[in-house]
């Protein structure tokens, strides 16, 4: 199987001195969900932003087998526009598909029906017209997922997107997101800290430390003990 995402020898520095990423190699196949784990500040968010095309220049190769605008990105605080409704936020995900003038004038045509469909799929139909700023944390995360799915992405990047939620909401959002990604054959690459959620919802784990992928393993094998051992230098892979 040809990977959807191939990363080889990826290095990046914000200040030109300290390398936050220093030779990252990673492959992801269609429909696979990968949890990136590691200390805060280890470069997980940086890696996602580079794959999303938000950070450059970098050294190395990032090869994405995806169509135009085929990468969805959910930032840590989801990045919704608070003054507009949930539906309008979801529609923003299709801005790259509707063309310049339609985008400028806010004319979304058939995309509106798709947006309603995604909101329904994510259990948000009744909140479609509510302003994003008035939604609960879990609802906001689901709106952000719907917005990314409007791009019809091959890869969905999610940066600690359930870390602010209570465990019940976190499980619900993760369940919905991973199910949809598996069904639509979307690569899900997420940064996470919670080993329980990783065990439950990811297929594979990559542990990032000192700018490199220190270990990769099936997600069900990860626990705090093994993670600590890897991060303290006990295991590489």
């Amino acid at each position: 199987m040809t990977p959807v995402l191939t990363i080889r020898g990826l290095s990046f520095s914000y200040d030109g001195k300290r390398k936050i990423l220093n030779g990252v190699d990673l492959d992801l196949n269609a429909g696979e969900s990968l949890a990136l784990m590691g200390y805060s500040g280890s470069g997980k968010t940086t890696l996602l932003k580079i794959v999303a095309g938000l950070l450059y220049p970098y050294e190395g190769v990032v090869q994405v087998k995806a169509g135009k605008n085929g990468i969805g990105y959910i930032p840590q605080n989801v990045g919704l526009v608070k003054n507009i409704s949930a539906l309008e936020n979801v529609l923003l995900g299709s801005l790259g598909r509707v063309g310049f003038f339609n985008g400028l004038l806010g004319r979304f045509g058939d995309e509106v029906e798709r947006a309603y469909g995604l909101l329904e799929e994510l259990g948000l139909s009744e909140h479609a017209d509510r302003k994003a700023g008035l939604l609960s944390g879990g609802e906001r995360q689901r709106v952000a997922v719907a917005r990314s799915l409007m791009q019809a992405p091959s890869i969905l990047l999610a940066d600690e997107f359930v870390s602010d939620l209570d465990v019940i909401n976190a499980v619900e959002v993760m369940k919905l997101t991973t199910e949809i990604c598996r069904r639509k054959n979307i690569v899900l690459m997420m940064t996470m800290h919670d080993t329980y959620l990783v065990n439950q919802f990811a297929d594979r784990v990559a542990v990032l430390n000192e700018g490199k992928i220190k270990a990769q393993m099936p997600a069900r094998e990860v626990d705090v003990k093994s993670l600590s051992a890897i991060l303290s230098g006990g295991k590489t892979g």
Partner: protein
């Protein structure tokens, strides 16, 4: 100066109406031009050569006081409210642009990042991420500019640019101080009324406003 000469009421009302019109139309024109130009000054969206040029030009516009713009436009288009309106428009353009780009750059970077990945163009990004997210600030600063322009328009008549200032000068020159008092009282009442009105609009339409408890 006392008591005020109430026979000046009619003239004062007409001149004040003209002042409010100058301030209103000038603010609207300034606003229409400042919105797109301030977007071009956003360093997180446009390249440095664009943002630096725009900021430099806006700096020049802002440096010139409104009264000087009024003199320039009186020379250019003649005496009267048109010169005043153009002066207020240019002044508002300079100030609103500055206020807007400062506010726009404070928009959450994550909102911009989330939309950048959709492959959207810069202008569409500004329209949907920056303007939408800053709508409350835009309205708030627009109201502030209008209030400010009411006050500054009141003196534009001193240089012949229309409005109540012209009436004040003519009463001063003819030593009609009781009539001048009437004009000043009505000017004060108008400024207070506009302040009250804009305060109401803020409370009614801008979320997050909570009056302090006693």
């Amino acid at each position: 100066m006392f008591p005020p000469d109430l026979s000046a009421f009619g003239d004062a009302l007409t001149a004040l109406a003209e002042t409010v019109q100058i301030a209103f139309v000038g603010t609207v024109i300034g606003f229409v031009f400042s919105l797109p130009v301030s977007a071009l000054a956003l360093r997180n969206i446009f390249p440095p050569w664009v943002t630096s040029t725009v900021r430099w030009l806006l700096g020049i516009v802002r440096t010139v006081p409104v009264l000087f713009w009024a003199v320039v436009f009186v020379i250019a288009v003649g005496l009267g409210p048109l010169a005043g309106t153009l002066a207020v428009a240019v002044y508002s353009f300079g100030y609103l642009s500055k206020l807007f780009y400062e506010a726009f750059e404070a928009v959450d970077a994550e909102v911009i990042d989330a939309l950048k990945v959709t492959g959207v163009s810069r202008l569409v990004l500004v329209r949907h991420a920056v303007f939408s997210e800053s709508m409350n600030t835009i309205v708030s600063q627009l109201l502030f500019m209008f209030e400010y322009n009411i006050r500054s328009s009141a003196v534009l008549g001193f240089v012949g640019a229309g409005g109540v200032g012209f009436l004040m000068v003519s009463y001063i020159e003819s030593l009609s101080y009781s009539s001048l008092t009437t004009v000043l009282v009505f000017t004060l009442a108008t400024v207070l009324a506009i302040d009250f009105l804009s305060g109401y609009v803020r409370r009614r339409f801008l979320p997050g406003f909570r009056p302090a408890s006693a």
